[in-house]
């Protein structure tokens, strides 16, 4: 459930394209009409500009980067109590700190679970203040 957002649907994009076409039609009719001072031209121009604002907001929303789900991995750190040889593997059910899980491959001493933690793969945004 980490940082998930709904994906942009193709319907949103289609609606935006239709809106852009409609707005340009409105603005085109109002700007390049033969009778420049017709009263409906001013209405169309007003609505056209409102439409442009709407498009800008919609585009900003659409371009907002969808955050990728955070990749998490639970690791178990094993360490030899004699020679401090370290090894890391994935967490297995039944692991706990400081369980002895066999012998050290380096010196044969007791190999102990030193830590169990979750590592996240995504880079965190740094707060500038």
């Amino acid at each position: 459930m980490e940082e998930k957002k709904e994906a942009r649907s193709p319907m949103d994009l289609l609606l935006l394209i239709l809106l852009i076409i409609f707005v340009f039609m409105l603005l085109g009719r109002s700007l390049f009409s033969n009778a420049q001072m017709q009263p409906e031209n001013s209405t169309m121009m007003f609505l056209g500009f409102l439409g442009i604002l709407l498009i800008v907001f919609a585009l900003l929303r659409l371009l907002t980067r969808v955050p990728t789900p955070t990749q998490k991995i639970t690791l178990t750190v094993l360490q030899c109590t004699k020679c401090a040889f370290k090894s890391i593997r994935n967490f297995q059910v039944g692991d706990y700190i400081p369980k002895i899980v066999g012998n050290c491959p380096s010196c044969g001493g007791p190999f102990q679970i030193e830590a169990i933690y979750v590592e996240e793969k995504t880079q965190k945004r740094k707060i500038p203040f």
Binding site: P39, T43, T74, F91, V93, Y96, I97, I116, Y117, V118
Partner: protein
């Protein structure tokens, strides 16, 4: 250039008329029904969150049933008993006359804990003590998720039935905080079902690191104490008994320990995970004065009482993390924070005590996945 020339009697086309009527209709609709439109939008958001909450609590229930079947080997299907467990509640003691409320609270919490353990033992008869504690924690997290879902659903349906704008508005405003708590409990479900250490285990992990290779003994229900030496000082280290999910009763354990010692300790240092402010780094370490312990306050009360009785300075070292991180599987940053906290504890001991004196360190928190 008039924006709505038709309104002022100028010549206009049918296109202009339609646009004007629609525009006015929208303004009037918003004027008379604005609140209802807003309420409908909020209701839609709440409904979406309710679907998410229902999914989370159903998943937590399924995980609980699966884990109980795997670890507890019940002879019959545990689902009906688990469903009953998820509906359990706790009635806090009345606080109109606050005198003596701590002991009433403590008694009720003990009864609650015992009855829950008994119930889990009945549901999962084959589970050992450590697994039993993990299962109890797992079912408690599922119970909390169930409670969040039921509470949000209740206020949503109540607000809709009574058409109460205020109830829906308040619920909508609280929704981000509620959802964050729910996501935190969802993370806890994973940790408790697999027995992984959680963020709140920072205190017990520090105690474990100090006690490596040393003797320890049980001092109080679910609490152990070990003895070690740091730079010439005799140090008693307290923690909850692991590796099952357990917080123990540090207040009672500290009282028993202090009453049993021949030499008055020079210092008590409590180490716990503490909630960080937004923007702060997880795993940062801070120190202060007082009893660093969460919960309803009964254990803190006991610790403050006994520290005052023996006039012992009470120091606190905290490892910063969010609520979500506290009940989710332990992050690497928190583990690294524990390493830093050990250095901080050693510095406090060095600066505030002399060689030969006695110090008590209490590692507070849930010790799931962390033994002695």
């Amino acid at each position: 250039m008039a924006i709505f020339p038709g309104l002022f009697g100028e010549e206009t086309s049918i296109f202009s008329w339609i646009i004007q009527i629609v525009f006015l209709a929208v303004i009037l609709a918003y004027f008379f029904y604005g609140q209802r439109i807003q309420m409908a939008m909020w209701s839609r958001d709440i409904e979406r969150s309710l679907y998410k909450l229902k999914f989370m609590k159903d998943k937590a229930r399924e995980t609980s049933i699966k884990t109980v079947k795997e670890l507890g080997k019940p002879p019959v299907d545990p689902s009906p008993r688990i469903d009953q467990f998820l509906e359990r509640f706790f009635i806090e003691p009345v606080s109109m006359d606050p005198s003596g409320i701590v002991w009433k609270f403590d008694h009720l919490l003990d009864v609650r804990d015992l009855s829950m353990k008994d119930e889990v033992r009945r549901i999962a008869p084959e589970a050992d003590d450590s697994t039993l504690n993990n299962l109890e924690n797992l079912l408690e997290a599922a119970m909390d998720l169930n409670l969040i879902y039921r509470t949000v659903k209740h206020y949503y349906l109540f607000g809709k039935r009574t058409k109460s704008y205020i109830i829906i508005a308040q619920l909508h405003m609280l929704l981000p905080i509620i959802m964050e708590s729910a996501v935190a409990y969802e993370g806890a479900i994973q940790a408790f079902s697999t027995g992984q250490p959680i963020g709140d285990g920072a205190g017990p992990l520090l105690a474990n690191k100090l006690l490596r290779g040393k003797e320890f003994k049980k001092i109080e229900k679910d609490m152990v104490v070990g003895e070690t030496e740091i730079e010439g000082r005799k140090v008693y280290v307290l923690k909850a008994e692991g590796p099952g999910g357990n917080v123990g009763k540090p207040g009672d354990a500290l009282t028993i320990l202090l009453n049993s010692l021949n030499q008055r300790p020079s210092l008590v240092i409590m180490v716990d995970a503490a909630l960080k402010f937004e923007g702060e780094n997880t795993g940062d370490v801070a120190e202060g004065i007082g009893a660093a312990i969460g919960g309803v306050g009964t254990e803190r009360f006991k610790i403050e009482e006994v520290a005052y009785k023996y006039k012992i300075p009470l120091f606190a070292v905290v490892i910063k993390e969010s609520l979500k991180e506290a009940i989710a599987p332990m992050k690497k940053e928190i583990y690294e924070g524990v390493e830093k906290a050990i250095e901080r504890v050693k510095r406090i001991i060095r600066e505030n005590t002399k060689e030969g004196e006695t110090v008590i360190i209490a590692g507070i928190g849930n010790t799931i996945g962390i033994a002695q």
